[in-house]
């Protein structure tokens, strides 16, 4: 997808012709392989299992049942069609009042009722993707900097930077302290940026973390709030995984810190939350993103910008009803947490049988898997990519290599476990266990044997680039999960 000719560049914009959307990375190989050979329990049991997709498919049955039992929440049912014209006509960028109230209600419950959210501060956006871009447009000018702990969700390179011109500088976290973010590390990155004459506008982080699946403890979060207040820079917390906590205590939202910390230590005008229903509820298709800010001007600005990505009024109506149903919400949150916990335990226990450990985590839809011991060279990202190719070609799993999340240490992989059924997970674990037991100590040999495979892959990659294969940055489900059909490659940069 390069645009080599200078002429072309003059006709289209710089943004349209640069690579800052991040989709030209080599990581498409995994997606391409999956696309050509997608696993299906009965129809293609030897296909590649998709474990690079951070989706929450565990509780869709609960939502589906609710929709069935609540026909009035839909404009397409006989019970609900009388609302059609009002809803179809409604495009006020404040959003349906009932929708905002329901979202505020859900957000509060997802945080155990320890905080409440003001519906007047709930601003819509086109998914969290839209929310993150919008908050950058509100807070930073082209050339300004936001600090971001790494490893981080790879699509932030696009969402935060592409059209905004904002620069992101990582605050590297390392395995030496279990990838914990510390204020010292942020301070160090802040000073370094300042020394290079960069204008740091804020810090953005995902909590619970993607790809780590860990949560910030209250002390650290509180100290971060104090830090940004002292430096007069913004703090944006993407809490998209707030309700995916399944163990290890409660999730501490920055909203809780804002409530609890001394008023002299926090400037609330600096605190902003990004949220979405794509992970907690498993509804990425409905495009529900939220910007929640304690800064009135930001609320106002973000609301005007929401014109570029409002939530469909049809969807607002349905969710307004669903998320106001306290009985449903309470049960959903409890059940979702329970199912995720079980799934996580089954997966990590299964990995342990193969002597594979993961970073201890208690949230998220994935595990941060430690495969450093399988690398040919523990200091080389080339080794990581080689191992990744083996995992795709030999173990037949599509997982996401740590380098795609800008991890500074080779050998870590994000593996998703909530986007498949139990049987598929079982197959995946079986494959891993088989592979490891057969190939203990032989990984190094395996890698050199696969050099040829890798070379071939590189050649294929070249051809593929020139071909007309459609690349999907999002997963493509062609009219039905049941028919494999043509499934396009799916970028590991994808959040969902």
């Amino acid at each position: 997808m390069g645009f080599p000719t200078k002429n072309k560049g003059a006709i289209l914009s710089r943004i349209a012709t640069n690579d800052q959307h991040g989709e030209n990375s080599e990581y498409f190989d995994g997606w391409k392989a999956y696309d050509k050979d997608p696993f299906h329990l009965s129809r293609n049991p030897h296909g590649i299992i998709q474990m690079g997709l951070a989706e929450n498919q565990l509780c869709l049955d609960l939502i589906k049942d609710w929709v069935k039992e609540n026909p009035k929440a839909s404009i397409c049912t006989l019970e609900g069609v009388h609302q059609f014209s009002d809803i179809a006509n409604f495009q006020d960028y404040h959003g349906l009042k009932k929708f905002r109230q329901a979202i505020a209600n859900f957000m509060g419950k997802a945080r155990g009722g320890r905080v409440t959210f003001d519906p007047e501060r709930v601003v819509m956006s086109g998914g969290a993707t839209g929310a993150n871009e919008t908050i950058m447009f509100c807070l930073a000018d082209p050339g300004d900097v936001f600090l971001i702990p790494s490893p981080y969700y790879a699509a932030f390179d696009r969402d935060l930077r592409w059209r905004t011109g904002v620069e992101i500088i990582p605050v590297p976290c390392s395995s030496s302290n279990n990838f914990k973010l510390t204020v010292e590390a942020v301070d160090w990155a802040y000073k370094k940026a300042q020394e290079s004459n960069k204008k740091v506008k804020g810090l953005i982080l995902t909590n619970p973390s993607n790809p780590l699946g860990t949560m910030l403890d209250k002390d650290t979060l509180t100290n971060l709030v104090r830090f940004v207040t002292r430096k007069n820079i913004h703090l944006v917390v993407d809490e998209i995984y707030a309700a995916t906590v399944f163990a290890g205590g409660d999730f501490v939202s920055v909203a809780e810190v804002v409530n609890d910390v001394d008023i002299s230590e926090v400037n609330v005008d600096l605190i902003h939350i990004v949220y979405s229903l794509s992970k907690d509820m498993g509804l990425p298709g409905f495009r529900v993103g939220i910007v929640y800010s304690y800064n009135d001007s930001v609320v106002s600005c973000a609301r005007k910008m929401s014109s570029f990505g409002l939530v469909s009024s049809q969807t607002q109506l349905m969710l307004a009803s669903m998320l106001s149903d306290d009985r449903f919400v309470d049960n959903f949150l409890m059940e979702s947490s329970r199912r995720l916990g079980i799934r996580h335990k089954v997966f990590t226990t299964g990995l342990e049988k193969a002597d594979i450990s993961c970073l201890t985590s208690n949230a998220g839809l994935f595990a941060w898997m430690d495969l450093r011991h399988l690398l040919r060279d523990r200091n080389s990202f080339e080794s990581e990519i080689e191992l990744w190719h083996i995992i795709i070609d030999k173990v037949k799993l599509n997982v996401s290599p740590g380098s795609s999340f800008r991890c500074t240490e080779p050998g870590w992989f994000r593996v998703c476990f909530a986007n498949m059924d139990d049987d598929t997970l079982h197959v995946a674990l079986g494959r891993i266990q088989d592979f490891v037991s057969k190939n203990n100590n032989k990984i190094v040999e395996q890698i050199s044997e696969n050099d040829q495979v890798i070379q071939n892959n590189n050649a294929k990659k070249q051809n593929w680039r020139q071909s007309n294969l459609r690349l999907s940055f999002r997963r493509l489900y062609e009219d039905g999960l049941s028919s494999p059909g043509i499934m396009s490659p799916h970028s590991p940069l994808l959040r969902a």
Binding site: I15, N89, R158, L283, G285, S297, V311, F473, Y477
Partner: protein
């Protein structure tokens, strides 16, 4: 005060603070036939509310396909998870076909060249991001939709340079005006990347003529770096299909399909006006340039169409019997409604620009101005809001070069309400003479009440912008 971005603190999202008055007054005192018959009638909202019954009856007969079902099977899960930015192919195919139908099937659209966006608002902004760099300019004929100041310029940094159109020739684009705009841009050191037209026009309600299209195409054929964007959001509101010429037809008829011009012509579309579904946020970009499609598709991540909505509309638009009947009936009702407004105004002695499309009329109130100034236009507008109790849109908000023109919407209310609006206007005009003699003292009174209201403006200026009612100016 914490430092926000320049975009957050500037005013280039296009809010015209004086414009709030109309909205504020309407909000405070909205007309309701039963509850508030003396209230202000909203005529500043370009919405199409004339055919909801057709949509509702389709829904009632098709609950099976409309909601999360296909061929009787639940597809809830698939839709819940579907976020592919290529869009639901069944929806795109149906949309492409619908666009062709709108053009009397004189051209066909390839769904692979279609990018779905969150409304035309997003489509227009996305195209700017794709075609222009900050500081580049697009030429737009005036008067134009006020929302373009936000959609095209705000976050993109693109500038708009107007192509001045005047009432002397029915506000048509002339070669001279186009060239003057181009020169003006050069004087301002702006690199012109394209021309953007709305066809049919908002606020004029007229289709772009063959002559105008020839002028535009000659220009972009000669100037090889310049794009032509045609916002055809009102294409389904034409009273007579044969009078609409889409830019896609010009490409075909003038045999430009094998030239570089093909890649520089793009269409924006939406279902907000034709189908009256602004709440669903369905917009589209159509382009023959693969690179534009590629970039725009990636950008659509920032505003995808809800999968639930894509599915509903895919079923709706695939029903050819429905779409055929809808387009025909919609045209008929719009035409009738427009006639009622035009004749009603004529009876009062007020003329409109002759129009053949749209959800509004471009009304000539120059004879009612106390002077040929924009000040006088503002005064007249305020009288119409406060005294006549109609919220209509002054031409200055659409960047019209001549004072005295107003956009008056007719499709967002019942026939009875329209009759009442005309009655009120008639009274105002008939009383005109006696009013004009007391005008001086009246305007002083108004200034007093305006001062009071203006201080309230700052209190709610962020709560109620003219974008509050999204459709408002379209």
């Amino acid at each position: 005060m914490v430092l926000l971005s320049r975009k957050a603190t500037c005013n280039s999202h296009g809010q015209d603070s004086s414009y709030f008055l109309g909205w504020e007054e309407y909000e405070k005192n909205p007309y309701d036939v039963i509850k508030n018959p003396q209230g202000i009638i909203q005529m500043g909202l370009a919405e199409n509310q004339l055919c909801f019954d057709l949509l509702e009856s389709w829904l009632e007969q098709n609950t099976d396909v409309a909601c999360f079902k296909r061929a009787g099977q639940s597809i809830f899960r698939e839709l819940a998870l579907f976020q592919d930015y290529h869009g639901l192919s069944s929806f795109k195919n149906a949309l492409a076909d619908f666009m062709s139908e709108n053009r009397g099937n004189r051209v066909s659209f390839d769904s692979n060249n279609l990018v779905l966006t969150a409304g035309a608002t997003s489509a227009n902004e996305t195209l700017m991001f794709c075609l222009a760099d900050p500081g580049d300019a697009f030429l737009l004929p005036t008067p134009y939709y006020p929302g373009f100041d936000r959609d095209l310029k705000w976050r993109t940094g693109v500038e708009i340079v107007p192509i001045q159109c005047s009432s002397t020739n029915g506000f048509c684009i002339t070669k001279l005006a186009l060239e003057e705009a181009y020169e003006q841009a050069k004087k301002l050191n702006l690199n012109v990347k394209g021309i953007l037209i709305t066809n049919p026009s908002n606020p004029l309600g007229t289709t772009t003529t063959q002559t105008e299209l020839n002028i535009l195409f000659d220009f972009i054929t000669k100037n090889k770096n310049i794009h032509l964007v045609s916002d055809e959001i009102y294409s389904g509101t034409i009273f007579n299909s044969s009078e609409f010429v889409s830019v896609m037809e010009i490409l075909k008829n003038n045999q430009l399909e094998n030239t570089d011009v093909l890649n520089r012509v793009h269409i924006v579309y939406s279902l907000s006006k034709d189908l009256g579904l602004p709440g669903f946020r369905v917009g589209a970009i159509y382009s023959n340039d693969k690179d534009v499609i590629s970039a725009a598709t990636k950008m659509s991540s920032f505003g995808l169409v809800s999968s639930q909505t894509q599915h509903l509309l895919s079923s709706l638009l695939s029903d050819k019997k429905f779409t055929e009947n809808y387009l025909r009936e919609n045209q008929k009702r719009l035409k009738n409604r427009q006639r009622k407004l035009v004749l009603g105004l004529e009876a009062i002695g007020i003329k409109c620009l002759k129009s053949n499309a749209g959800l509004f009329c471009w009304v000539d109130m120059r004879p009612l101005l106390s002077s040929k100034t924009f000040e006088a236009e503002k005064d007249l507008w305020k009288k119409i809001v406060y005294e006549v109790k109609l919220n209509i849109s002054p031409g200055s908000s659409c960047h019209c070069e001549e004072p005295g023109w107003f956009r008056v919407c007719f499709a967002n209310m019942s026939e009875e309400t329209l009759k009442l609006a005309l009655k009120r206007l008639k009274k105002f005009v008939d009383d005109g003479n006696s009013k004009r003699s007391c005008q001086k003292s009246e305007s002083q009174k108004l200034k007093g009440s305006r001062k009071k209201t203006m201080s309230n403006v700052s209190n709610w200026v962020f709560r109620l912008s003219f974008h509050d009612r999204e459709a408002e100016e379209r």
